[in-house]
Subunit: 116 residues, 2 copies
């Protein structure tokens, strides 16, 4: 049993918008991701989307307005709400999603889960 060092996990890959699973708890996947540029507009019909910024800055665009997050800031996109994360410079984020979330066919949820 040992600590999960999020920065160490992030140092093992460089691809953007490809979350890696670093742990699990209570049926949730704990993931880290590097992001830069614009993701696609999408929504999750059945799950809230949890974002915590570890480094850098991201903006979560929504149809009704934007939220910008820096280190130590959290935002939860409620289920069903269309959003698009964007990052002008590379940012590192922590994501939490229910494990085995059904693949909706949406490009944003179609990425295979990888473990680091």
């Amino acid at each position: 049993m040992e600590a999960i060092n999020l920065a160490n996990k992030l140092s093992t890959f460089s691809e953007h918008w490809q979350p890696r699973t670093v742990g699990q708890f209570n049926g949730n996947d704990l993931m880290v991701a590097k992001v830069k540029g614009e993701f696609v507009w999408h929504k999750h019909d059945d799950t809230d989307d949890f974002f915590l910024v570890l480094q850098g800055r991201i903006t979560i665009q929504m149809r009704d307005g934007n939220v910008t997050l820096g280190p130590g800031e959290v935002f939860v996109v409620p289920k069903g709400v269309e959003h698009r994360p964007v990052a002008e410079e590379e940012a590192h984020i922590l994501l939490i999603e229910p494990s085995n979330t059904p693949n909706t066919g949406d490009p944003a949820t179609a990425a295979a889960r990888r473990v680091v």
Copy 2:
């Protein structure tokens, strides 16, 4: 809709070992806590116990060994595993628990949930 700034939330209280709920997602409570000194030995029979250190350092004592966490480090105590968190100096942590976790009568789970 706005970001949840964890440091700002932590600045609103000073008590140790009294987690405050700062958000909810997918049936989970997102909580922040200030800790210092020794908590009590306890376990959660039905839930894994998620810890992320935001500031300072904590040690999670278990019967089979200890894990020490610094900023940006996560540890999940598996359900049913007895543990005691301790912090020599004040530390700030992020906790995630299923909302409405039944109160087991254990002192460690008997604290009322407070929202900030």
